[in-house]
Protein backbone atom coordinates (compact mmCIF):
# COMPACT_ATOMS: atom_id res chain seq x y z
CA UNK A 1 0.00 0.00 0.00
CA UNK A 2 1.52 3.34 -0.98
CA UNK A 3 2.42 5.79 1.76
CA UNK A 4 0.24 8.89 1.73
CA UNK A 5 0.90 12.08 3.59
CA UNK A 6 -1.74 13.35 6.01
CA UNK A 7 -2.84 15.97 3.50
CA UNK A 8 -3.15 13.42 0.74
CA UNK A 9 -5.19 11.12 2.98
CA UNK A 10 -7.44 14.03 3.90
CA UNK A 11 -7.90 14.82 0.24
CA UNK A 12 -8.69 11.18 -0.60
CA UNK A 13 -11.22 11.00 2.24
CA UNK A 14 -12.80 14.27 1.12
CA UNK A 15 -13.04 12.89 -2.41
CA UNK A 16 -14.65 9.70 -1.09
CA UNK A 17 -17.14 11.69 0.95
CA UNK A 18 -17.95 13.85 -2.07
CA UNK A 19 -18.48 10.77 -4.24
CA UNK A 20 -20.75 9.17 -1.62
CA UNK A 21 -22.72 12.39 -1.27
CA UNK A 22 -23.04 12.66 -5.06
CA UNK A 23 -24.19 9.05 -5.24
CA UNK A 24 -26.88 9.57 -2.60
CA UNK A 25 -28.01 12.83 -4.19
CA UNK A 26 -28.30 11.05 -7.52
CA UNK A 27 -30.19 8.12 -5.96
CA UNK A 28 -32.49 10.49 -4.10
CA UNK A 29 -33.22 12.37 -7.31
CA UNK A 30 -34.25 9.22 -9.19
CA UNK A 31 -36.15 7.30 -6.49
CA UNK A 32 -37.07 9.84 -3.80
CA UNK A 33 -40.42 10.81 -5.30
CA UNK A 34 -41.54 7.23 -5.90
CA UNK A 35 -40.70 6.31 -2.31
CA UNK A 36 -42.60 9.34 -1.03
CA UNK A 37 -45.64 8.30 -3.11
CA UNK A 38 -45.26 4.75 -1.81
CA UNK A 39 -45.50 6.07 1.74
CA UNK A 40 -48.54 8.20 0.88
CA UNK A 41 -50.47 5.81 -1.37
CA UNK A 42 -49.51 2.50 0.22
CA UNK A 43 -48.30 2.87 3.79
CA UNK A 44 -50.61 5.68 4.91
CA UNK A 45 -53.57 4.35 2.90
CA UNK A 46 -53.23 0.89 4.44
CA UNK A 47 -52.69 2.35 7.90
CA UNK A 48 -55.88 4.41 7.43
CA UNK A 49 -57.63 1.29 6.24
CA UNK A 50 -56.78 -0.44 9.52
CA UNK A 51 -58.01 2.57 11.50
CA UNK A 52 -61.22 2.74 9.45
CA UNK A 53 -61.97 -0.87 10.36
CA UNK A 54 -62.28 0.24 14.00
CA UNK A 55 -64.34 3.35 13.29
CA UNK A 56 -67.95 4.25 12.62
CA UNK A 57 -69.28 7.64 11.64
CA UNK A 58 -72.25 9.13 13.42
CA UNK A 59 -74.03 12.31 12.32
CA UNK A 60 -71.65 14.47 14.30
CA UNK A 61 -68.50 12.52 15.01
CA UNK A 62 -66.41 9.40 14.43
CA UNK A 63 -66.43 6.76 17.15
CA UNK A 64 -63.95 3.96 17.87
CA UNK A 65 -65.64 0.58 17.98
CA UNK A 66 -65.45 -3.16 17.29
CA UNK A 67 -68.95 -3.06 15.75
CA UNK A 68 -67.66 -3.73 12.24
CA UNK A 69 -66.03 -6.93 13.45
CA UNK A 70 -69.02 -8.06 15.52
CA UNK A 71 -71.25 -7.42 12.51
CA UNK A 72 -68.92 -9.52 10.41
CA UNK A 73 -68.94 -12.26 13.06
CA UNK A 74 -72.76 -12.20 13.07
CA UNK A 75 -72.84 -12.46 9.31
CA UNK A 76 -70.74 -15.60 9.43
CA UNK A 77 -71.93 -17.24 12.62
CA UNK A 78 -75.26 -15.57 13.36
CA UNK A 79 -78.79 -16.91 12.95
CA UNK A 80 -79.15 -16.09 9.28
CA UNK A 81 -78.45 -19.03 7.00
CA UNK A 82 -77.10 -17.30 3.92
CA UNK A 83 -75.75 -13.80 4.34
CA UNK A 84 -74.18 -11.77 1.54
CA UNK A 85 -70.72 -12.23 3.06
CA UNK A 86 -71.06 -16.03 3.32
CA UNK A 87 -72.19 -16.10 -0.30
CA UNK A 88 -69.31 -13.84 -1.32
CA UNK A 89 -66.77 -16.04 0.49
CA UNK A 90 -68.21 -19.26 -0.97
CA UNK A 91 -68.08 -17.81 -4.48
CA UNK A 92 -64.54 -16.49 -3.89
CA UNK A 93 -63.41 -20.02 -2.99
CA UNK A 94 -65.09 -21.35 -6.12
CA UNK A 95 -63.20 -18.83 -8.28
CA UNK A 96 -60.00 -19.64 -6.41
CA UNK A 97 -60.53 -23.35 -7.11
CA UNK A 98 -61.15 -22.58 -10.76
CA UNK A 99 -57.92 -20.56 -10.83
CA UNK A 100 -56.05 -23.56 -9.41
CA UNK A 101 -57.47 -25.74 -12.18
CA UNK A 102 -56.64 -23.18 -14.87
CA UNK A 103 -53.07 -22.79 -13.54
CA UNK A 104 -51.78 -26.12 -14.94
CA UNK A 105 -54.02 -25.72 -18.00
CA UNK A 106 -52.18 -22.47 -18.84
CA UNK A 107 -48.86 -24.22 -18.35
CA UNK A 108 -49.82 -27.19 -20.54
CA UNK A 109 -51.08 -24.85 -23.26
CA UNK A 110 -47.77 -22.97 -23.14
CA UNK A 111 -45.85 -26.27 -23.29
CA UNK A 112 -47.61 -27.38 -26.46
CA UNK A 113 -47.02 -23.98 -28.04
CA UNK A 114 -43.34 -24.33 -27.07
CA UNK A 115 -43.36 -27.76 -28.72
CA UNK A 116 -44.53 -25.98 -31.88
CA UNK A 117 -47.92 -27.65 -32.11
CA UNK A 118 -49.65 -27.07 -35.46
CA UNK A 119 -50.65 -23.38 -35.65
CA UNK A 120 -48.46 -22.35 -32.69
CA UNK A 121 -47.45 -19.02 -34.22
CA UNK A 122 -51.12 -18.14 -34.77
CA UNK A 123 -52.00 -19.07 -31.17
CA UNK A 124 -49.19 -16.86 -29.93
CA UNK A 125 -50.98 -13.90 -31.49
CA UNK A 126 -54.58 -14.95 -30.93
CA UNK A 127 -54.24 -16.01 -27.27
CA UNK A 128 -53.10 -12.55 -26.35
CA UNK A 129 -56.30 -11.03 -27.76
CA UNK A 130 -58.31 -11.62 -24.52
CA UNK A 131 -55.73 -9.45 -22.73
CA UNK A 132 -55.62 -6.66 -25.27
CA UNK A 133 -59.34 -6.11 -25.75
CA UNK A 134 -61.35 -4.62 -22.93
CA UNK A 135 -63.33 -6.92 -20.66
CA UNK A 136 -66.39 -4.91 -21.72
CA UNK A 137 -65.81 -6.05 -25.33
CA UNK A 138 -65.66 -9.72 -24.34
CA UNK A 139 -68.47 -9.55 -21.81
CA UNK A 140 -70.76 -7.85 -24.35
CA UNK A 141 -70.01 -10.63 -26.84
CA UNK A 142 -70.31 -13.35 -24.18
CA UNK A 143 -73.66 -12.02 -23.00
CA UNK A 144 -74.98 -12.40 -26.54
CA UNK A 145 -73.57 -15.92 -26.79
CA UNK A 146 -75.32 -17.02 -23.58
CA UNK A 147 -78.52 -15.02 -24.16
CA UNK A 148 -81.82 -16.90 -24.46
CA UNK A 149 -81.64 -16.81 -28.28
CA UNK A 150 -77.89 -17.40 -28.31
CA UNK A 151 -76.06 -20.52 -29.51
CA UNK A 152 -75.00 -21.68 -26.03
CA UNK A 153 -78.58 -21.96 -24.73
CA UNK A 154 -79.71 -23.62 -27.98
CA UNK A 155 -76.89 -26.15 -27.61
CA UNK A 156 -77.75 -26.84 -23.96
CA UNK A 157 -81.45 -27.29 -24.85
CA UNK A 158 -80.43 -29.74 -27.55
CA UNK A 159 -78.23 -31.71 -25.16
CA UNK A 160 -80.73 -31.81 -22.29
CA UNK A 161 -83.76 -32.22 -24.54
CA UNK A 162 -85.43 -29.34 -22.71
CA UNK A 163 -88.03 -27.08 -24.36
CA UNK A 164 -87.59 -24.35 -21.76
CA UNK A 165 -84.71 -21.99 -22.59
CA UNK A 166 -82.42 -21.29 -19.61
CA UNK A 167 -81.74 -17.72 -18.57
CA UNK A 168 -78.08 -18.34 -17.88
CA UNK A 169 -77.05 -14.96 -16.49
CA UNK A 170 -80.39 -14.17 -14.89
CA UNK A 171 -81.03 -17.29 -12.83
CA UNK A 172 -79.16 -17.99 -9.57
CA UNK A 173 -79.06 -21.68 -10.54
CA UNK A 174 -76.87 -20.92 -13.56
CA UNK A 175 -75.45 -17.39 -13.15
CA UNK A 176 -72.26 -18.23 -11.24
CA UNK A 177 -71.49 -21.21 -13.49
CA UNK A 178 -71.95 -18.95 -16.51
CA UNK A 179 -69.57 -16.34 -15.09
CA UNK A 180 -67.09 -19.16 -14.43
CA UNK A 181 -67.54 -20.29 -18.03
CA UNK A 182 -66.41 -16.82 -19.10
CA UNK A 183 -63.33 -17.14 -16.84
CA UNK A 184 -62.46 -20.47 -18.47
CA UNK A 185 -63.01 -19.05 -21.96
CA UNK A 186 -60.70 -16.13 -21.29
CA UNK A 187 -58.16 -18.03 -19.18
CA UNK A 188 -57.14 -21.05 -21.25
CA UNK A 189 -53.75 -19.57 -22.11
CA UNK A 190 -53.11 -17.76 -18.83
CA UNK A 191 -49.49 -16.62 -18.32
CA UNK A 192 -48.40 -18.13 -21.65
CA UNK A 193 -46.10 -15.16 -22.31
CA UNK A 194 -44.19 -15.72 -19.06
CA UNK A 195 -44.08 -19.50 -19.48
CA UNK A 196 -43.13 -19.11 -23.16
CA UNK A 197 -40.29 -16.73 -22.25
CA UNK A 198 -38.99 -19.13 -19.57
CA UNK A 199 -39.23 -22.18 -21.83
CA UNK A 200 -37.50 -20.43 -24.72
CA UNK A 201 -34.39 -20.01 -22.53
CA UNK A 202 -34.05 -23.75 -21.87
CA UNK A 203 -30.95 -24.98 -23.73
CA UNK A 204 -31.96 -27.00 -26.80
CA UNK A 205 -29.26 -29.56 -25.95
CA UNK A 206 -31.07 -30.52 -22.74
CA UNK A 207 -34.31 -31.20 -24.59
CA UNK A 208 -32.52 -33.09 -27.35
CA UNK A 209 -30.62 -35.22 -24.83
CA UNK A 210 -33.93 -36.25 -23.30
CA UNK A 211 -35.36 -37.07 -26.71
CA UNK A 212 -32.30 -39.16 -27.57
CA UNK A 213 -32.94 -41.08 -24.36
CA UNK A 214 -36.40 -41.79 -25.67
CA UNK A 215 -38.49 -39.92 -23.11
CA UNK A 216 -42.06 -39.04 -24.04
CA UNK A 217 -43.75 -35.65 -23.90
CA UNK A 218 -45.12 -36.19 -20.39
CA UNK A 219 -41.73 -37.05 -18.86
CA UNK A 220 -40.14 -34.19 -20.76
CA UNK A 221 -42.75 -31.79 -19.39
CA UNK A 222 -42.63 -33.04 -15.80
CA UNK A 223 -38.96 -33.98 -15.39
CA UNK A 224 -37.20 -31.44 -17.61
CA UNK A 225 -39.38 -28.42 -18.31
CA UNK A 226 -40.96 -27.92 -14.87
CA UNK A 227 -37.66 -28.10 -12.90
CA UNK A 228 -35.97 -25.75 -15.36
CA UNK A 229 -38.68 -23.10 -15.33
CA UNK A 230 -39.56 -23.52 -11.67
CA UNK A 231 -38.46 -19.99 -10.63
CA UNK A 232 -41.09 -18.56 -13.00
CA UNK A 233 -43.67 -21.19 -12.12
CA UNK A 234 -43.06 -20.82 -8.38
CA UNK A 235 -43.55 -17.07 -8.53
CA UNK A 236 -46.80 -17.45 -10.45
CA UNK A 237 -47.97 -20.18 -8.07
CA UNK A 238 -47.19 -17.98 -5.10
CA UNK A 239 -49.21 -15.12 -6.58
CA UNK A 240 -52.03 -17.56 -7.35
CA UNK A 241 -52.15 -18.99 -3.82
CA UNK A 242 -51.89 -15.66 -2.05
CA UNK A 243 -54.84 -14.41 -4.08
CA UNK A 244 -57.16 -16.81 -2.28
CA UNK A 245 -59.45 -14.08 -0.95
CA UNK A 246 -59.23 -11.82 -4.00
CA UNK A 247 -60.22 -14.45 -6.57
CA UNK A 248 -63.12 -13.24 -8.65
CA UNK A 249 -64.61 -13.25 -12.12
CA UNK A 250 -65.96 -10.59 -14.43
CA UNK A 251 -68.88 -9.98 -12.08
CA UNK A 252 -69.33 -6.26 -12.72
CA UNK A 253 -69.95 -6.54 -16.46
CA UNK A 254 -71.80 -9.85 -16.51
CA UNK A 255 -74.19 -9.79 -13.54
CA UNK A 256 -73.36 -6.72 -11.47
CA UNK A 257 -73.18 -9.02 -8.45
CA UNK A 258 -76.81 -10.12 -8.80
CA UNK A 259 -78.17 -13.69 -8.92
CA UNK A 260 -75.86 -14.94 -6.16
CA UNK A 261 -72.63 -14.16 -7.99
CA UNK A 262 -70.92 -11.71 -5.64
CA UNK A 263 -67.38 -12.29 -4.32
CA UNK A 264 -65.30 -10.71 -1.53
CA UNK A 265 -63.46 -8.33 -3.86
CA UNK A 266 -66.71 -7.38 -5.62
CA UNK A 267 -68.35 -6.87 -2.23
CA UNK A 268 -65.57 -4.39 -1.31
CA UNK A 269 -65.79 -2.69 -4.72
CA UNK A 270 -69.53 -2.31 -4.25
CA UNK A 271 -68.98 -0.66 -0.88
CA UNK A 272 -67.23 2.22 -2.62
CA UNK A 273 -68.78 2.43 -6.08
CA UNK A 274 -71.50 5.09 -6.11
CA UNK A 275 -71.50 5.18 -2.30
CA UNK A 276 -70.91 8.54 -0.54
CA UNK A 277 -67.53 8.55 1.18
CA UNK A 278 -69.12 9.40 4.53
CA UNK A 279 -70.95 6.08 4.48
CA UNK A 280 -70.15 3.45 7.11
CA UNK A 281 -70.04 0.90 4.29
CA UNK A 282 -66.44 2.09 3.79
CA UNK A 283 -65.60 1.15 7.37
CA UNK A 284 -67.29 -2.23 7.20
CA UNK A 285 -65.50 -3.04 3.92
CA UNK A 286 -62.19 -2.05 5.58
CA UNK A 287 -62.88 -4.45 8.46
CA UNK A 288 -63.74 -7.26 6.05
CA UNK A 289 -60.54 -6.53 4.11
CA UNK A 290 -58.43 -6.46 7.26
CA UNK A 291 -59.71 -9.84 8.47
CA UNK A 292 -59.10 -11.52 5.13
CA UNK A 293 -55.65 -9.92 4.78
CA UNK A 294 -54.70 -11.36 8.19
CA UNK A 295 -56.04 -14.75 7.13
CA UNK A 296 -53.87 -14.56 4.00
CA UNK A 297 -50.66 -13.97 5.97
CA UNK A 298 -50.00 -17.59 7.04
CA UNK A 299 -50.72 -18.76 3.49
CA UNK A 300 -48.16 -16.27 2.14
CA UNK A 301 -45.50 -17.30 4.65
CA UNK A 302 -46.13 -21.02 4.24
CA UNK A 303 -46.07 -20.85 0.43
CA UNK A 304 -42.87 -18.81 0.41
CA UNK A 305 -41.25 -21.17 2.92
CA UNK A 306 -42.26 -24.14 0.76
CA UNK A 307 -40.97 -22.56 -2.46
CA UNK A 308 -37.70 -21.60 -0.79
CA UNK A 309 -37.17 -25.27 0.08
CA UNK A 310 -37.11 -26.19 -3.61
CA UNK A 311 -33.69 -25.58 -5.11
CA UNK A 312 -33.49 -23.76 -8.42
CA UNK A 313 -31.77 -25.55 -11.27
CA UNK A 314 -28.87 -23.55 -12.68
CA UNK A 315 -28.31 -23.64 -16.46
Amino acid sequence: MPNYSAEELQSINRQKRNNTLKKYLFLFSIIGLQLLFFVVFYVIVNFNSILMAFQLKTKTTTIWTFDNFTRMWDEFFGDKDKTELILALTNTFKFFGLGLILFPVGFITSYFMYKKILGHSVYRLVFFIPSILSAIVWSTIYKEMVAVEGPVVKFLMWITGSDEPMILLGDPAYALKTVMGYTIWMGIAGNFILYGGAMSRIPVDVIEAGQLDGIGWLREMVQIIIPLIFPTMGTLLLLQLTGIFTASGNILFLTGGAFDTTTISYFIFQSVYKVPETSNKYNYASAVGLVFTLLTLPIVFFTRWLLDKIEDVQY
Binding site: I117, I136, T296
Partner: protein, 295 residues
Protein backbone atom coordinates in the same frame (compact mmCIF):
# COMPACT_ATOMS: atom_id res chain seq x y z
CA UNK B 1 -9.34 -20.22 -37.31
CA UNK B 2 -12.59 -21.04 -38.98
CA UNK B 3 -15.12 -22.74 -36.71
CA UNK B 4 -16.54 -25.96 -38.01
CA UNK B 5 -19.99 -26.84 -36.86
CA UNK B 6 -21.00 -30.42 -37.15
CA UNK B 7 -24.68 -30.90 -37.62
CA UNK B 8 -26.39 -34.21 -37.31
CA UNK B 9 -29.37 -34.75 -39.58
CA UNK B 10 -32.57 -33.78 -37.83
CA UNK B 11 -34.19 -37.21 -38.23
CA UNK B 12 -31.25 -38.77 -36.40
CA UNK B 13 -31.25 -36.28 -33.59
CA UNK B 14 -34.91 -36.30 -32.74
CA UNK B 15 -36.98 -39.38 -32.50
CA UNK B 16 -40.23 -39.72 -34.35
CA UNK B 17 -43.33 -39.06 -32.31
CA UNK B 18 -45.01 -42.14 -30.87
CA UNK B 19 -48.62 -42.91 -31.75
CA UNK B 20 -49.87 -41.96 -28.29
CA UNK B 21 -47.98 -38.69 -28.54
CA UNK B 22 -49.58 -37.95 -31.91
CA UNK B 23 -53.02 -38.51 -30.36
CA UNK B 24 -52.22 -36.15 -27.45
CA UNK B 25 -50.95 -33.47 -29.83
CA UNK B 26 -54.03 -33.91 -32.04
CA UNK B 27 -56.41 -33.53 -29.07
CA UNK B 28 -54.51 -30.48 -27.81
CA UNK B 29 -54.55 -29.03 -31.33
CA UNK B 30 -58.33 -29.37 -31.51
CA UNK B 31 -58.72 -27.66 -28.11
CA UNK B 32 -56.36 -24.80 -28.91
CA UNK B 33 -57.78 -24.32 -32.41
CA UNK B 34 -61.33 -24.24 -30.98
CA UNK B 35 -60.43 -21.55 -28.44
CA UNK B 36 -58.46 -19.53 -31.02
CA UNK B 37 -61.38 -19.77 -33.46
CA UNK B 38 -63.83 -18.72 -30.73
CA UNK B 39 -61.82 -15.53 -30.07
CA UNK B 40 -61.51 -14.64 -33.74
CA UNK B 41 -65.12 -15.50 -34.64
CA UNK B 42 -66.47 -13.65 -31.58
CA UNK B 43 -64.63 -10.51 -32.55
CA UNK B 44 -65.75 -10.81 -36.18
CA UNK B 45 -69.31 -11.27 -34.92
CA UNK B 46 -69.02 -8.01 -32.96
CA UNK B 47 -67.73 -6.25 -36.10
CA UNK B 48 -70.70 -7.59 -38.07
CA UNK B 49 -73.16 -6.71 -35.29
CA UNK B 50 -71.99 -3.12 -35.58
CA UNK B 51 -73.27 -3.05 -39.17
CA UNK B 52 -76.81 -4.13 -38.25
CA UNK B 53 -79.83 -2.21 -37.08
CA UNK B 54 -80.88 -2.67 -33.47
CA UNK B 55 -83.94 -4.74 -34.45
CA UNK B 56 -81.97 -6.87 -36.88
CA UNK B 57 -79.46 -7.57 -34.13
CA UNK B 58 -82.19 -8.67 -31.71
CA UNK B 59 -84.16 -10.74 -34.22
CA UNK B 60 -81.25 -12.29 -36.04
CA UNK B 61 -78.15 -11.98 -33.82
CA UNK B 62 -75.96 -14.45 -35.68
CA UNK B 63 -77.01 -14.04 -39.32
CA UNK B 64 -75.62 -11.56 -41.83
CA UNK B 65 -77.17 -8.06 -41.71
CA UNK B 66 -80.39 -7.57 -43.68
CA UNK B 67 -78.92 -4.30 -44.86
CA UNK B 68 -75.43 -3.13 -43.97
CA UNK B 69 -75.22 0.09 -41.95
CA UNK B 70 -71.62 1.33 -41.97
CA UNK B 71 -72.92 4.68 -40.70
CA UNK B 72 -73.29 3.05 -37.24
CA UNK B 73 -69.54 3.34 -36.88
CA UNK B 74 -69.74 7.10 -37.51
CA UNK B 75 -72.95 7.64 -35.53
CA UNK B 76 -71.29 6.01 -32.51
CA UNK B 77 -69.12 9.12 -32.14
CA UNK B 78 -72.14 11.32 -31.48
CA UNK B 79 -74.69 8.88 -30.03
CA UNK B 80 -72.47 7.24 -27.43
CA UNK B 81 -72.82 9.79 -24.65
CA UNK B 82 -72.51 9.28 -20.90
CA UNK B 83 -72.57 11.93 -18.15
CA UNK B 84 -72.43 14.64 -20.84
CA UNK B 85 -69.25 13.20 -22.39
CA UNK B 86 -69.45 11.91 -25.95
CA UNK B 87 -67.18 9.40 -27.63
CA UNK B 88 -64.63 12.03 -28.72
CA UNK B 89 -64.39 13.21 -25.10
CA UNK B 90 -64.04 9.61 -23.91
CA UNK B 91 -61.21 9.00 -26.38
CA UNK B 92 -59.55 12.18 -25.09
CA UNK B 93 -59.84 10.89 -21.52
CA UNK B 94 -58.49 7.51 -22.60
CA UNK B 95 -55.49 9.17 -24.29
CA UNK B 96 -54.29 11.22 -21.30
CA UNK B 97 -54.95 8.32 -18.97
CA UNK B 98 -52.99 5.91 -21.20
CA UNK B 99 -50.04 8.15 -22.09
CA UNK B 100 -49.54 9.79 -18.70
CA UNK B 101 -50.25 6.70 -16.64
CA UNK B 102 -48.19 4.28 -18.73
CA UNK B 103 -45.10 6.50 -18.84
CA UNK B 104 -45.22 7.30 -15.11
CA UNK B 105 -46.20 3.74 -14.23
CA UNK B 106 -43.23 2.25 -16.07
CA UNK B 107 -40.67 4.99 -15.40
CA UNK B 108 -41.08 5.00 -11.59
CA UNK B 109 -40.38 1.29 -10.94
CA UNK B 110 -37.70 1.26 -13.69
CA UNK B 111 -35.67 3.95 -11.89
CA UNK B 112 -36.03 2.12 -8.57
CA UNK B 113 -34.95 -1.14 -10.24
CA UNK B 114 -31.92 0.64 -11.72
CA UNK B 115 -30.96 2.04 -8.33
CA UNK B 116 -31.21 -1.26 -6.44
CA UNK B 117 -29.40 -3.31 -9.08
CA UNK B 118 -26.57 -0.94 -9.98
CA UNK B 119 -25.76 0.81 -6.69
CA UNK B 120 -24.83 -0.26 -3.21
CA UNK B 121 -26.52 1.93 -0.64
CA UNK B 122 -28.07 1.77 2.80
CA UNK B 123 -31.55 0.31 2.53
CA UNK B 124 -30.96 -1.37 -0.83
CA UNK B 125 -31.89 -4.87 0.37
CA UNK B 126 -34.83 -3.43 2.28
CA UNK B 127 -36.22 -1.97 -0.96
CA UNK B 128 -35.70 -5.26 -2.84
CA UNK B 129 -37.54 -7.20 -0.12
CA UNK B 130 -40.24 -4.55 0.20
CA UNK B 131 -41.08 -5.05 -3.47
CA UNK B 132 -41.50 -8.78 -2.93
CA UNK B 133 -43.63 -8.23 0.17
CA UNK B 134 -45.95 -5.74 -1.54
CA UNK B 135 -46.31 -8.07 -4.50
CA UNK B 136 -47.00 -11.25 -2.59
CA UNK B 137 -49.12 -9.89 0.22
CA UNK B 138 -52.47 -8.86 -1.21
CA UNK B 139 -53.89 -6.06 0.89
CA UNK B 140 -57.61 -6.69 0.72
CA UNK B 141 -60.01 -3.87 1.32
CA UNK B 142 -57.80 -0.80 1.04
CA UNK B 143 -60.16 0.45 -1.68
CA UNK B 144 -62.27 2.61 0.71
CA UNK B 145 -59.16 4.14 2.34
CA UNK B 146 -57.68 4.85 -1.11
CA UNK B 147 -60.87 6.63 -2.12
CA UNK B 148 -60.76 8.83 0.97
CA UNK B 149 -57.07 9.60 0.37
CA UNK B 150 -57.70 10.53 -3.28
CA UNK B 151 -60.68 12.61 -2.22
CA UNK B 152 -58.60 14.47 0.39
CA UNK B 153 -55.89 15.19 -2.20
CA UNK B 154 -58.42 16.40 -4.81
CA UNK B 155 -57.73 13.49 -7.19
CA UNK B 156 -61.39 12.52 -7.70
CA UNK B 157 -62.49 13.59 -11.20
CA UNK B 158 -59.10 15.17 -11.81
CA UNK B 159 -56.11 14.25 -14.01
CA UNK B 160 -54.04 14.83 -10.86
CA UNK B 161 -54.78 11.17 -10.13
CA UNK B 162 -51.93 10.37 -12.56
CA UNK B 163 -49.50 11.33 -9.79
CA UNK B 164 -50.43 8.11 -7.99
CA UNK B 165 -49.20 6.13 -11.02
CA UNK B 166 -45.59 7.14 -10.33
CA UNK B 167 -44.97 4.10 -8.19
CA UNK B 168 -41.86 2.34 -6.97
CA UNK B 169 -42.71 -1.35 -6.95
CA UNK B 170 -44.70 -4.08 -8.63
CA UNK B 171 -44.08 -6.48 -11.47
CA UNK B 172 -42.46 -3.76 -13.63
CA UNK B 173 -39.81 -3.36 -10.93
CA UNK B 174 -39.25 -7.14 -10.93
CA UNK B 175 -38.95 -7.34 -14.74
CA UNK B 176 -36.53 -4.39 -14.83
CA UNK B 177 -34.42 -5.75 -11.96
CA UNK B 178 -33.98 -8.99 -13.91
CA UNK B 179 -33.01 -6.96 -16.98
CA UNK B 180 -30.56 -4.60 -15.27
CA UNK B 181 -28.85 -7.52 -13.49
CA UNK B 182 -28.02 -8.87 -16.93
CA UNK B 183 -26.49 -5.60 -18.18
CA UNK B 184 -22.70 -5.69 -17.90
CA UNK B 185 -21.16 -2.99 -15.64
CA UNK B 186 -18.48 -2.36 -18.30
CA UNK B 187 -20.81 0.00 -20.20
CA UNK B 188 -21.10 2.31 -17.20
CA UNK B 189 -17.40 1.98 -16.33
CA UNK B 190 -16.32 2.88 -19.88
CA UNK B 191 -18.65 5.88 -19.88
CA UNK B 192 -17.29 7.04 -16.48
CA UNK B 193 -13.73 6.92 -17.82
CA UNK B 194 -14.95 9.12 -20.69
CA UNK B 195 -16.24 11.61 -18.11
CA UNK B 196 -19.96 10.79 -18.18
CA UNK B 197 -21.95 11.55 -15.02
CA UNK B 198 -24.61 9.26 -13.53
CA UNK B 199 -27.48 10.97 -15.39
CA UNK B 200 -25.70 10.55 -18.73
CA UNK B 201 -25.08 6.86 -17.96
CA UNK B 202 -28.71 6.36 -16.96
CA UNK B 203 -30.44 8.24 -19.77
CA UNK B 204 -27.95 7.90 -22.63
CA UNK B 205 -26.64 4.38 -22.03
CA UNK B 206 -28.93 2.33 -19.80
CA UNK B 207 -32.28 3.56 -21.15
CA UNK B 208 -31.35 2.96 -24.82
CA UNK B 209 -30.07 -0.49 -23.81
CA UNK B 210 -33.45 -1.17 -22.17
CA UNK B 211 -35.41 -0.08 -25.25
CA UNK B 212 -36.78 -3.57 -26.00
CA UNK B 213 -38.13 -4.35 -22.56
CA UNK B 214 -39.34 -0.77 -22.03
CA UNK B 215 -41.37 -0.95 -25.27
CA UNK B 216 -42.83 -4.27 -24.08
CA UNK B 217 -43.74 -2.92 -20.64
CA UNK B 218 -45.11 0.34 -22.03
CA UNK B 219 -47.25 -1.59 -24.52
CA UNK B 220 -48.65 -3.82 -21.77
CA UNK B 221 -49.24 -0.83 -19.50
CA UNK B 222 -50.91 1.16 -22.28
CA UNK B 223 -53.21 -1.70 -23.27
CA UNK B 224 -54.11 -2.28 -19.61
CA UNK B 225 -54.90 1.38 -19.07
CA UNK B 226 -56.91 1.71 -22.29
CA UNK B 227 -59.11 -1.14 -21.04
CA UNK B 228 -59.19 0.00 -17.41
CA UNK B 229 -62.75 0.72 -16.45
CA UNK B 230 -62.82 0.11 -12.69
CA UNK B 231 -60.47 2.98 -11.81
CA UNK B 232 -62.42 5.41 -13.98
CA UNK B 233 -65.80 4.20 -12.66
CA UNK B 234 -64.83 4.83 -9.05
CA UNK B 235 -62.36 7.71 -9.12
CA UNK B 236 -63.15 9.53 -12.37
CA UNK B 237 -66.90 9.07 -12.94
CA UNK B 238 -67.22 12.50 -14.60
CA UNK B 239 -64.28 11.82 -16.91
CA UNK B 240 -65.15 8.40 -18.39
CA UNK B 241 -62.70 6.80 -20.76
CA UNK B 242 -63.95 4.71 -23.65
CA UNK B 243 -64.09 1.42 -21.70
CA UNK B 244 -66.06 3.04 -18.88
CA UNK B 245 -68.27 4.95 -21.31
CA UNK B 246 -69.26 1.78 -23.14
CA UNK B 247 -70.04 0.03 -19.86
CA UNK B 248 -72.17 2.91 -18.60
CA UNK B 249 -73.90 3.22 -21.98
CA UNK B 250 -74.71 -0.49 -21.82
CA UNK B 251 -76.34 -0.07 -18.41
CA UNK B 252 -78.44 2.91 -19.40
CA UNK B 253 -81.88 2.63 -20.92
CA UNK B 254 -80.64 3.85 -24.31
CA UNK B 255 -78.77 0.57 -24.60
CA UNK B 256 -82.07 -1.24 -25.10
CA UNK B 257 -82.79 0.83 -28.16
CA UNK B 258 -79.31 1.17 -29.70
CA UNK B 259 -77.41 -2.03 -29.24
CA UNK B 260 -76.04 -1.57 -32.76
CA UNK B 261 -74.30 1.62 -31.63
CA UNK B 262 -72.97 -0.17 -28.54
CA UNK B 263 -71.45 -2.91 -30.70
CA UNK B 264 -69.96 -0.38 -33.15
CA UNK B 265 -68.40 1.57 -30.27
CA UNK B 266 -67.15 -1.65 -28.72
CA UNK B 267 -65.36 -2.58 -31.96
CA UNK B 268 -63.97 0.95 -32.39
CA UNK B 269 -62.62 0.84 -28.83
CA UNK B 270 -60.70 -2.34 -29.70
CA UNK B 271 -58.76 -0.74 -32.57
CA UNK B 272 -56.11 1.21 -30.56
CA UNK B 273 -55.03 -1.78 -28.41
CA UNK B 274 -54.94 -3.98 -31.50
CA UNK B 275 -52.66 -1.46 -33.26
CA UNK B 276 -50.49 -1.12 -30.14
CA UNK B 277 -50.19 -4.87 -29.83
CA UNK B 278 -49.34 -5.35 -33.50
CA UNK B 279 -46.35 -3.01 -32.99
CA UNK B 280 -45.34 -4.21 -29.54
CA UNK B 281 -46.08 -7.95 -29.49
CA UNK B 282 -42.60 -9.02 -30.64
CA UNK B 283 -41.04 -6.99 -27.85
CA UNK B 284 -43.47 -8.49 -25.33
CA UNK B 285 -42.89 -12.08 -26.43
CA UNK B 286 -39.10 -11.76 -26.48
CA UNK B 287 -38.41 -9.42 -23.55
CA UNK B 288 -40.89 -10.10 -20.80
CA UNK B 289 -39.76 -12.79 -18.40
CA UNK B 290 -40.32 -13.41 -14.73
CA UNK B 291 -37.81 -15.19 -12.51
CA UNK B 292 -38.02 -16.40 -8.97
CA UNK B 293 -38.63 -14.17 -5.97
CA UNK B 294 -36.84 -16.08 -3.28
CA UNK B 295 -35.40 -14.24 -0.39
Amino acid sequence: MERVIFKTPKHNRIKKRAKSEIIVFAVEFVILATFAASYILSFLWAVMAGFKTHNDLIMNPFGLPETWHPENYIDAFSLLEVNGVNMIGMIGNSIWWVIGGSILGVLGPTLVAYAVTKFNFIGRMFLINLNIVTMTLPIIGSFPATYRMYSALGFINSPLILIASFGAFGSTNLYMCAFFRGVSPTYAEAAKIDGANEYTILFKIMMPLSKGILIALLTMAAVGRWNDSNTMLVYLPKMPNLATGIYLFSTEMTYRARMDILMAATVLSAIPPLILYSFGHKSILTNVSLGGIKG
